[in-house]
Symmetry: C2
Subunit: 246 residues, 2 copies
Amino acid sequence: MEDILSPDNAGASPAECVACALAQYTVYSPTLSADPIGLANVRKETRKYGSQKTILREGEVPDSISTLKSGWAFRFGRLPNGRRQIYSFLIPGDIVTPESLWRTPYPLPFSIKALNRVELCSFNRRAFRAALSTSESQEQRLARMAQGYFGNIYRRFADLGRRSAGGRLAQLILEFERRLRHRGLTRGRTFDFPLRQDHLADALGLAPEYTSRTLMTFRKEGLIQLERQQLTILNIEALREIAEDE
Amino acid sequence: MEDILSPDNAGASPAECVACALAQYTVYSPTLSADPIGLANVRKETRKYGSQKTILREGEVPDSISTLKSGWAFRFGRLPNGRRQIYSFLIPGDIVTPESLWRTPYPLPFSIKALNRVELCSFNRRAFRAALSTSESQEQRLARMAQGYFGNIYRRFADLGRRSAGGRLAQLILEFERRLRHRGLTRGRTFDFPLRQDHLADALGLAPEYTSRTLMTFRKEGLIQLERQQLTILNIEALREIAEDE
DNA sequence: CGAATGTTTGAGAGACGTCAACCGGTGTGG
DNA sequence: CCACACCGGTTGACGTCTCTCAAACATTCG
């Protein structure tokens, strides 16, 4: 027996989800617009995490489904020798563990940490799953989300094995631009970029010093501008060419 | 309305699945032993592919679920510049697209090819899914399969970014040994190894020449023996040490 | 048996890593 | 309010891992 409405729900007013600026960009927007308060009633609580705090630890079995209301996060693994590989980044509107949407949850093969100050909306897993199984357009949207989500992961996998440092960096920047634009989180070609260089390094599989150099090359060639956590793409065609590996 | 029993089923006798030597090692073994002929009735056909033939192409939406009855396969992506990255290998008993077990299928972000002569058993997707939703032990087995499956993929992701050539190779060999042993496909520390060196290279993110050299080092140091598609691990402790990255 | 395909090996080049110093911002405490 | 430490980023010098090119060698297949 599962408590669909957990007590923590007290703080969440049903209207909140509907009013959320991100609502129309999330996977569950069809469900939300079909039944404006249904989803909100399934919401358990919101949670806050400070920068670099652990949201989920490797081996945990997620028992709820959360979305990022604000802030960024990243998923990573650690090798026996202590080195870290970042698998993917989560931006506002993303589901933290899309895997939980499918079938029985299983222990996570990675940890998840907050990149900056993060606010999470968490939902009852089964109720959320059920709410997202009602309409055809919702199913299609889920399928497209999964396609994009896993597509990005496999592309970064291939980048690691088969692209140069510059190619990988360009590819990652373009991925951010695309995803953030679809969420309405860009201003022209400018967007928030809360990663530190060691995050970039661990995502791209590079030494931090070399990441700095590669970034500097991009700046000197007028491809991007990056200061105070704001990234602007100055020459997107050139960036694409580098990403395609000239 | 979906035709559970497609006409192609004609060739498949219901007893075959039960008699299959791999049956007890597959994900669906609980279902199979609970209802020995139920699954076989859901089977549509068996299919054969020659070495290096394409089983599924990137972008296709798998409409059935297949398992490898014999032979190996691999999943890979291709970069705009033509380079190839292999994401994972499939061995006998594996489900070709475990992703199809979850929810609505979506276009594959990779292609799948046969490594050697392959025989596939394909099942009706929805009927297979339904048949695997009946028992608790079946759910648990599915969860453990998913854990292992995605765990391996993420580990290889991390290997690409954060391990040396030798570390990656050792890790991959150990993964094969583990998986094949669990399927009863090893003889001592010896097992079939149908990969060519360019497959290894594309899986490890290395140049083929350097793959050859790394392999040669392993041989000269008495770690492995590899000839005529048979691999023997001669010194597993040393191999593990290299894999852990000393 | 020959041709095509896969593997091994050598020599040299290049990309990326490591070590170390320095620089600039930020926060903290006296 | 300044001093200082700390953290993250930048830069230089140098080392090395891995790639590329090229040729020889081995193996499979027609």
